[in-house]
Amino acid sequence: MTLLSPPPMPGTSGTGVNPSHPDGADDQPRTVGRLTQDDIASLVAAFVGSLALTWLVYFQLLPLSGKVGFLFCWYAAFLAVYGLVSSFGNPRPVVVDRLWGAAVAGAAGVVFFAVLSVAIYTLVKGEGAWIHGNFWTHDMAGVGPTETLTHGGITHAVAGSLIELAIATAVSLPLGIGTAIYMVEIGGRFSTVVRTVVEAMTALPDILAGLFIYTVLQLGLGFQRNGFCAAMALSIMMLPIIARSADVSLRVVAGGLREASLALGASRWATVWRVVLPTARSGLATAVILGLARAVGETAPVLITSGASTFFNTNPLKNPMNSLPLFIFSSVRSGEPTYITRGFGAASVLLVLVVVLFIAARLLSREKTKR
């Protein structure tokens, strides 16, 4: 700043007013991070030059092929050319800075390209299935392995997923939030034990939840493979997630609110019910949605506990019940091209469902931070 403004007149320094700029209009802060002409020119030159060079060497001079290899070589050539071009007019730290900047941006680019390709690939591959109306209104009962995509649909999987999620939520929501209330509002030494165990259970690999239910409920107590067992396995996965994030959102409720309520003569139960829980409402909703988003895509537990039925079944206690992840898994495993397309169609539905849940969670938590 001071380098750009003219030196102050003797005797005026220290007053804080620059006499040559009485209005202060010229006295704007210099933007530090702006790209110079040299920055942009080197970047563009290296980008184009390395593309041309790699194309020439890779496809024309060497007997190489393959898009992945080309991209790798191009990126390597780009870094080399960029470093070389930069080193002509710049000191070493600038060259190092530019190269690391390019490397970091490259890593980020790969990751974001991968995310987008996952989403786009799933939606595009599934289009053959979800474009047909019957995909949304039929189940797979009586659909042969070679039938075209104008037969059969995923209503049984969607219904199964919704029923299993509803049961799992009904079990894990009260238990999860109740545990969080216990850990935050009652506390004590025992609650430390509970918190430690709950945190440890978030590390439980999903397949073990399924295997536990399979062994205890199905082999031990004689349950059939059905939606109820799948829901139990899902609730084991959801419970620690809900309890942990609810614990966090209850802990940030201001202590002053609790004390004010108690000082007004409210009982502790009334304080929790009328002050703490309403204050943490959006955080609790986020906790539940996070649990749902995790449970809706869990494949391994439902794979073990519930059979992949082809027909519409709304009774969780009788007969196998399909769900979206299980439908995707069994369709792809079958190897039949039309089934794979149906699997991608179901994957599109699942992806959209997860995105919707995710956006809902973000909107809720944003509401909280605004307040």
Binding site: D97, A119, I181, A203, L208, T215, L351
Partner: protein, 339 residues
Amino acid sequence: MTAVADVSPASPLPDDDKPRSLGSGIGGSDRVFQVSATGVGAVVLVITGAIGLFLGYQLIPTLHNYGLGFFTRAVWNPEQNLLGISGVVVGTIEIAVIALAISFPLALGTAVYISEYAPNWLKGTLVALVDLMAAVPSIIYGLWGLLLISPHALYVARWINSYFGWVPFLKVDTDPRAAAFSAHNYVSSPFIAALIVSMMVIPMACAVMRGVFAQAPIGEREAAYALGSTRWGMIRSVVLPFGRGGIIGGTMLALGRALGETVAVLLIISPEYDLKFKPLEIGGITVASLIANQFNDASSSQLSALLAAGFVLFVMTIAVNTVAAIIVNRSRSGAQTDA
């Protein structure tokens, strides 16, 4: 003042003037609340604890049936009832470590890009994108990997084999320069499975790292710039050292997730239960995919062996996660400067 002085000697019975006891009177409804909340906590403790104990308890019949060789044998042969998990555990660690080697630079680069390079208007979108990537179900990554990535990864594996085949563990038992390309030697390999798992764990690691980088003290950043540092110089000397705990912790959280991944590995890999260190070659196994493959036609002793294998996996995951949590928490507390 004088009024008070007048009153106190006038009270005839000073013994009645005891202080009221505070806070000891818990009403009926509060007692119910306290008991029921403790009850819920206890129920959850029992449920969750029961799973851990139940899995651990299966070690007893397993060791009884298969002996200590259960941990050292590398074979899973239900017909001869000869089971051992050393190959499976090694396979699990192998896939997790490769996945980590791929995901670490990408996650670190993405975290640094979001927190230091991305323009402000883009930052929120990128953070949301990474969080969303964490929420995408693993089955969808599995499909993507199986049908989109796997055919390309094949050629990468062949390339590595033909130029780095002299490294023992990068060798594939086939001639890379043979006239006919034998693709079936390269498909369904631990390398491809690890590639997919790495995509799954990047968002977890990246989110933790970015969170720590964002807390790097602004005073030290400006001090680095004021001393004439370039942006990368500032990152290297301020952000990365400050975020070291987050980098290590986030990577270990990713490792915990990679160890327990089931479906994506199950879709990709072709099961092989012996002890091998050839990640580029077809065949391999992890504990989770072993369970998914074998649970259906397991006898009761084999089922408890599967549960015991699951317990080993659970212990590994918990150990990794606990260490990660300790490292992340430690790095956040007390690391702030007064600047």
